[in-house]
Symmetry: C2
Subunit: 244 residues, 2 copies
């Protein structure tokens, strides 16, 4: 039986989603929880391989389990074994054998949260990027809009990104103010490695007046990582949800 499972996690103390020799990938912990009530250790396939420190509100995996188990019982069993960790199975459902959490994904949604005030956070440590500078919201919105569409995002991908094709279609990218927070929300079928964090880092430079929104097209056409801005830190990034 193939199960689709939705997960929430605090990525702060993990070395990212992917299984690590240290055993400190979120995947390692989740697979150990699955193994605890299933004879064979099942491997999971994930929708979005989050980096170290990145959080998930609605990460999706699929896993094949020999035993038939009611989806809600599967969640409860996983959660019972995850009690020591800030990882929760929110929901599960039986899916057909052709479903893949990775390949079947039609749209992935990310949110990046900036705390924009002079003082650092006490309650949101490791959950936001603290940017104390005055930011021009309209300029960041203009820059975000110029990133929407099909583009070669070479300038916005990590130097270690292994994707053969650097073209991605950014379907939406909004920038909104929520009291002292600024939310950067974007959606695409797929993203390149560090793409969201590099886009946000560049938009913050635009917000600070170090670059202009109108520079975005030339940054894209440069196809050069050094043409874009810094990589925003991981703690502000949330993998929100996946559309199938």
């Amino acid at each position: 039986m193939r199960y689709k499972v939705t997960l929430e996690y605090d990525g702060t103390r993990f070395e990212g989603w992917q299984s690590q020799p240290s055993g400190k990938g979120v995947q390692d912990i989740v697979e150990r929880a699955l193994a605890a009530f299933n004879p064979e250790t099942p491997r999971t396939i994930v929708a979005g391989r989050t980096d170290a420190g990145v959080h998930a509100l609605g990460q999706v995996i699929h896993v094949d389990i020999a035993r038939e188990i009611a989806p809600i019982k599967l969640c409860d069993a996983i959660n019972a074994h995850l009690r020591k960790y800030p990882i929760i199975a929110l929901a599960a459902e039986v899916v057909d054998e052709h479903f893949s959490a990775r390949i079947s994904a039609k749209k992935r949604h990310y949110r990046y949260v900036v705390l924009n005030r002079r003082m650092p956070p006490a309650l949101l440590v490791n959950r936001v990027w603290h940017v104390p500078h005055r930011l021009n919201l309209a300029a960041m919105q203009e820059g975000a809009a110029l990133l929407v569409g099909p583009h070669d995002f070479t300038s916005f991908r990590s130097s270690v990104c292994q994707a053969k094709n650097p073209v991605r279609t950014l379907q939406a990218f909004t920038v909104t103010q929520h009291d002292v927070q600024i939310w950067f929300e974007c959606a695409a079928r797929a993203f390149l490695h560090h793409q969201v964090r590099n886009m946000v880092g560049t938009l913050i430079e635009i917000g600070r007046g170090k670059r202009k929104a109108a520079d975005i097209p030339s940054i894209i056409t440069a196809r050069d990582r050094s043409a874009a801005g810094l990589t925003a830190p991981p703690g502000g990034l949330y993998f929100v949800s996946v559309d199938y």
Copy 2:
């Protein structure tokens, strides 16, 4: 010079605001930070003495400091000494000698956050009360409205509450849904010990159908702690702000 200072803190690992023999009160940490750049150890006066585990988004204190210092420098100096702790001085201002963070307060605002979904939190551990049961929002709103006004809140105060007069005037009490969170927001010039947590605990019992909103008047007139509901846990409570 008298300074008014606004603080944000994560109350999880502290034994409440008040100074403790253990040195683990928020007050102990803040006063040590103040003492680090001020010759005498100044005592602080606080607007709301939060309990262990209760958070603050805008706690207010006043403190007398012999040295004259620009308010923003005072914040930076406090924060430099608080770096190890989840406590931040958000703002400061010079106030006249008659100002008291406690006595001058005209209205105190609290928020209580319930996470209302089947699964416990991964990201909001110690920041919300997880209530997995189905809740009747309209009934809780009706119950909250019946608590507004001047009442003898004996049924809603802790047995160790030392206030001579149990009458308080609750000026507002709203219950609103925010996705899977329910926010209970109330304001009054002053509250009794555990009053907000006991009111929220009672409203949750109403939301679960264990009590009726219409029972609120008789709970109030009982003037008996055992007539009201359980005490909501501290992690969901936020001291939001004070009006002067």
